[in-house]
């Protein structure tokens, strides 16, 4: 039954979780817009979603028990540093308007995921009721 519900909801729960993470990273960028030396980062959505859905992005496939597992280079491989258009003297790479636009975009994407999920849930409910 749970598998059925998971299948019905599709990729959207994972997309929602990755979207929330992206919102968090962008909020941290905006919060540190005036912190000297702060490097802005963003989530590589495709890589993060692949990790979340278990597509094993960037991991070695072990087909034999004696295969070595590669250590993960970073705990969050989907985080990427932003390349600034205009480097500033204090080493801060947050560009306010750019981050605001990225945040707005991430918020809209999050809402889209929410709407998709709501539709799927509605569909499930209708199927269960047999309306």
């Amino acid at each position: 039954m749970n598998k059925l519900i998971d299948a019905a909801l599709g990729i959207h729960p994972q997309a929602l979780a990755v979207g929330a993470r992206r919102l968090e990273v962008l909020a941290a960028n905006l919060a540190n817009a005036d912190t000297p030396g702060f490097k802005a980062r963003d989530v590589d959505f495709r890589a993060a979603l692949a990790t979340a859905t278990g597509e094993r992005a960037g991991r070695l496939e072990a087909t034999h028990p004696k295969h070595l597992t590669a250590p993960r280079a970073s705990a969050a491989p989907e985080l990427r540093y932003r390349i600034p258009n205009e480097p500033s003297l204090d080493g801060n790479t947050v560009e306010g308007p750019l981050e605001q636009a990225a945040f707005a975009e991430a918020a809209v994407r999050y809402q889209a995921s929410l709407d998709f999920l709501a539709q799927r849930i509605e569909g499930l409910r209708k199927a269960l009721r047999g309306e």
Binding site: A27, N32, I121
Partner: protein
Amino acid sequence: MNLFKIFDISGSALSAQSVRLNTVASNLANADVPSATADGVYKARHPVFAAVLRAVGTETAGGVRVTGIVESERPPRVEYRPGHPLANEEGYVYLPAVNVVEEMADMISASRSYQSNVEVLDTIKQLMLRTLQLGQR
């Protein structure tokens, strides 16, 4: 839920920016306060921001914190005002080296940053409420 952390992050930014606004207000308010000695004169204050890093492994930057407030090292202005009650024997008073234009620019920058963080909080609040209502009719 992930989104709860954003309240901490943006909240810390709001408090850091309000510290900055406070120092600007203090600098502007004291811009013309004279002193009899060079040591006793008001010095412009500026906050030092630093990013808060979370525990190793999560790697996401947290919010901001104010690590301290530094006093400007700029030498005070010296003005010749022989009639002033605080003037020394030669008739000079010491005035703070506060650059009013610089402070105003700093104030605008701080208030813009404050606004953008408020905007973030507002958006996140709406998104969280919508997430909570997911599946309700």
